[in-house]
């Protein structure tokens, strides 16, 4: 009974496919899974917009939207109708084709990442051998759409926002990759299904999640920072901050195209949270051995919503980072910490089981954090500001 509940979507899909002739089963099965993903995540996006507005509002000691439905839960309906019926304004001097394609490219590329995430036991769309590499390849393509949006608007603020956003995304992408490489090194596989399987063991009732190891905790923190910066989310949202650059690279977009950018950003957040929970938090595995009766997909989506809650919390509480502080942070703190994390993880693997490896690895990482983080990022004496242009 518990297994049936756990595998209910798989059983449902096989039952539906049973009505079709043999040769049609695989293509229709793939299309069915794709339609489910494309339908599910925008629905989660709608729920998240209202949760975010209420959450950030409560942190800021105000109420948030409460008019549209009971406690404002029907607000996404109102937002959807508004953005669909708004006039689609395209500036005359804007580059028509590129302006149209930028949000399309963003949404396509962001949804491709979900093809390799295991959302439950046996619930992955494609079990690729190089799954993690495919995910990062799709993430790298998203930067191009940001640039296309900023350049095609023929607007100095948009271009400035786009260049800042691309520089930020490239810098933190390296940190994202390096913190995931630690997991690949320890597991020995790029396939996300195998990575979750490697965390599916329990010792004294506690799981073998990678976050419970010293290098896993450091890796998770680096991944969380890099993931927040990749999706241009506060406190790294200078490219789209309202008080800085009007709206950055999506200034000239209105109506449905703006809604597509918004959708792309939130679905990218889901995607990165999903990957983070797969790599570090054990994907669809339960936190305690006794809790395994709860279906695996509930754990996956629970961890996803927990990560979204942390994102919303960070947005409400932390101030925005300036561009040079952001880049300084990426290259001078996050990157060296990730490299030292790799070294610590390697030491962990070769030291053999026991308490010694815990002590040594934790010591290395704490020493690195204190020396690089605390001392290295201390503000130097401020001099007159210098500017750099290309010519």
């Amino acid at each position: 009974m518990i297994e049936r509940l756990d595998q209910i979507f798989v059983i449902l899909k096989h039952w539906l496919l049973g009505y079709l002739p043999e040769s049609w089963q695989t293509p229709v099965g793939v299309i069915l899974s794709v339609v489910c993903i494309i339908g599910l995540y925008p629905a989660l996006f709608a729920i998240t917009t209202v949760l975010e507005r209420k959450g950030v509002a409560r942190i800021q000691n105000r109420l948030g939207p409460n008019r549209v439905g009971p406690y404002g839960i029907l607000q996404p309906m109102a937002d959807g109708i508004k953005s669909l019926t708004k006039e689609d304004i395209v500036p005359t001097t804007a580059d028509g084709v590129v302006h149209f394609l930028a949000p399309v490219v963003l949404v396509v590329v962001v949804f491709m990442g979900f093809a390799v995430l295991p959302m439950g036991r046996n619930m992955v769309l494609v079990d690729m051998d190089a799954g993690l590499l495919f995910y990062f390849a799709m993430g790298a393509s998203a930067e191009l759409s940001v640039f296309m949006a900023g350049w095609s608007s023929r607007n100095k603020y948009s271009l400035l926002g786009a260049m800042r956003a691309v520089a930020q995304m490239i810098s933190y992408e390296i940190a994202l990759l390096l913190s995931s490489v630690v997991i690949v090194m320890i597991t020995g596989s790029l396939s996300l299904v195998k990575i979750v399987e490697a965390q599916n063991h329990y010792t004294w009732g506690l799981p073998h999640w990678f976050i419970f190891t010293p290098w896993g905790l450091a890796g998770f923190l680096m991944y969380a920072i890099a993931g927040t910066a990749e999706t241009n989310r506060s406190p790294f949202d200078l490219p789209e901050g309202e008080s800085e650059l009007v709206a950055g690279y999506h200034t000239e977009y209105s109506g449905f195209k703006f809604a597509l950018f918004f959708l792309g950003e939130y679905v990218a957040m889901f995607s990165i949270s999903g990957l983070g929970s797969t790599l570090f938090l054990g994907g669809w595995t339960a936190p305690l051995e006794v809790l395994q009766f709860i279906p695996s997909w509930i754990w996956f989506f629970g961890k996803l919503f927990l990560s979204m809650g942390v994102f919303i919390w960070m947005r409400g509480t932390l101030p925005r980072l300036r561009q040079d502080q952001l880049m300084n942070f990426a290259w001078k703190f996050v990157l060296p910490m990730c490299l030292l994390n790799l070294f610590a993880a390697g030491l962990w693997h070769f030291m053999g089981a026991g308490w010694l490896r815990w002590v040594v690895c934790s010591a290395i990482l704490i020493l690195a954090y204190v020396s690089i983080g605390r001392e290295g990022m201390r503000r130097k004496n401020l001099g007159p500001r210098s500017y750099r242009y290309a010519e």
């Binding site: 580059d95 590129v98 690729m128 051998d129 190089a130 590499l133 495919f134 990062f136 390849a137 799709m138 993430g139 790298a140 393509s141 930067e143 191009l144 640039f147 296309m148 350049w151 271009l159 260049m163 691309v166 490239i170 992408e173 020995g188 596989s189 790029l190 750099r388 242009y389 290309a390």
Partner: protein, 166 residues
Amino acid sequence: MGFVFYLISTFTVGGALAAVLLKNLVHAALALTVAFFGLALLFLRLDAQFAGFAQILVYVGAVAILVVFAILLTRGSELPKEGVFSKTWLVGLAIAAGVFALLAWAVLQAAPWLPQEKAAPTVTVNDIGNALMSRYVLPLEIVAVLLTAALLGAVIVAMHEKERSR
């Protein structure tokens, strides 16, 4: 040669043609990205998944962005007055056509003798990792040194020189 191969090839060759023919530089760079994607799809068709995804990650995610940034920093959006093709464009085109004719003749002539193993090679990423660390470790280390040298070189070449006091 299936329909999918022809579709992807048209896509790739079209992107490459657009990349060298378009007057607007940023459009040309975006067409180049389309060509890179098409080539990655061809790699995937040839059962080289690692190479295909590495192509997208490196070329689309880094080289295309580099090209676009360079176009922006050197004011590429302004078109030159005398057009975008050089005065000797006919000679260049003739040379390129000659090269293509030679290559195509060579390929079609050697067609009966080309190897054609039908079975797809089962290569896992594990094998690639093992090969990189055992048989190809020297090229790996040399590429690492090369990338470090290129990084330092590019930063120094493009760095803004400090104002020399005259």
